[in-house]
Symmetry: C2
DNA sequence: CGGGAATTTGACACTCCTCAACACACGTGG
DNA sequence: CCACGTGTGTTGAGGAGTGTCAAATTCCCG
């Protein structure tokens, strides 16, 4: 819970451009999914890739954000730290999700990589100009933003009203849904879930402490809702039982 | 009240069209703020006004939403109720705010009036067509949605990490900011705040119980951060002290 | 193998919830 | 006019669920 962001904003992440937008594996999930071939051609020439190690800060709350982009590989978090060090994660970014706040030069949250991460990045003014000039881009951004807003509000239900145990189950449901969607698969019994976050990140996402997270995972294991492979991998014998234990109401984000 | 919430969506609220968009007092805050005179002319002919008493449900979670609109007067809430009855308010709608989820025929949340309420309403398909055909409308909607997303995430920080007392103070700060913005005024010492919600709605918005809300308001009064006029009205001797007690980080929404 | 981080476990404290009773304002009808 | 019901808000006693602090354990990687 205490803010332990190890490295300062990295001055020069590993940057290199390669690959063409047409070949992008996650384009269908991204803001550029509805762009025409010529529009993609244009974007291809603007983009650069940025790679990060876990724990690096891509953008800092309250600071100028030099770029925007899309997660290509890995997971990142958006979070805020209160003056006394309490931290709340307000969103997880999976492949296809947008990094940065469009039309605001200053980032309203910290963006931090939680796994090895690759981001398809654009110079901010150029990206915003592209947004203004490309209806396909702007309409898709609107669509994505409306979906994110629904998700954020669902998470508010979790934070405000769910028990620690329900929070953990909801998180597992969400993590599984996000991972499966990328592979165009559906949840089912016996499925394997990877938890991409440390206990600390989970705690900060769920509004709990790491000790409570650890204990509730133990309780879920004992009650048979999950089977632990190791600290980061688990098996779901019954998807329905997991959803039941999550306290209901988790629409696919 | 319980009975009202559980009653079906009111079939025929008080509907009448009057007034012209050009004369609308809250247009500058609404989705139509950037529309040209001809565009407003078009919208004027589509709109109808709907009036509600406190506690009426405008739209129901999971049901077809026949209209969308803008709050003209009063306050409404968006909320979700878990299967076992726990309720979380995920947003408050002040004049200018949008009622309904664009591009989704089904409402993801309950919309309930919390005061006497007037809504400028549009038939959903017509409104969505107008959005698609009117860049000024769509761009403004994107802007508003991005702002709402920032606000929702700030509220997640409150729900996940703030104490009951900090939640109350944050709510007062937010309520004051929203009310003042409509009058183009700034927060200052000695200001009067109206709490438009019942203790129950406040509790459901803050992730607390009504008893805790009541007790914390009492504690704030005793410590001098607020002065109670009556149950719904209070005075802020020091705005800075209130923000301090709110635990920091509340950007104007 | 060694050292630090991540995770788990334990004992205890505290915030906030639960249940219950009470106070108050308001409207209705006898 | 007053008794009554209903919705709203306050107050009190006690307990459940999480947080806090401390230590043990496991994992990871050089």
């Amino acid at each position: 819970m205490k803010a332990m962001l190890h490295a300062a904003t990295s001055g020069a992440p590993d940057i290199r451009a390669r690959g063409h937008c047409l070949d992008c594996a996650i384009r269908q999930h991204a803001v550029c999914s509805d762009c025409s071939a010529p529009e993609l051609e244009f974007l291809t020439n603007l983009k650069t890739y940025r790679n990060y190690k876990p724990g690096e800060r891509l953008l800092e709350m309250g600071e100028r954000a030099p770029f925007m982009g899309t997660v290509v590989e890995g997971v990142a978090s958006m979070s805020r730290i209160l003056p006394d060090g309490r931290r709340q994660v307000v969103g997880l970014l999976f492949p296809g999700d947008l990094v940065g706040r469009p039309f605001s030069p200053v980032s309203p949250f910290d963006y931090v990589s939680v796994t090895d991460l690759r981001v398809c990045a654009f110079n901010r003014p150029q990206f915003e100009a592209a947004l203004r000039d490309t209806p396909a881009l702007e309409q898709r951004l609107l669509e994505m933003t409306l979906d994110e807003l629904d998700s954020a509000r669902e998470w508010m239900v979790l934070l405000g009203r769910k028990s620690a145990q329900e929070k953990l189950c909801s998180f597992m449901v969400m993590a599984a849904q996000r991972a499966l969607r990328l592979e165009r698969r559906r949840p089912m019994d016996g499925i394997l879930i990877e938890l991409p976050l440390t206990r600390e990140d989970m705690a900060d996402f769920l509004g709990l402490t790491i000790e409570t997270v650890s204990r509730q995972i133990g309780a879920l294991k004992k009650s048979g809702v999950i089977e632990l492979i190791d600290a980061r991998h688990l098996l779901i014998p019954s998807w329905e039982a997991l959803e039941e234990a999550a306290g209901g109401e988790l629409a696919a984000a």
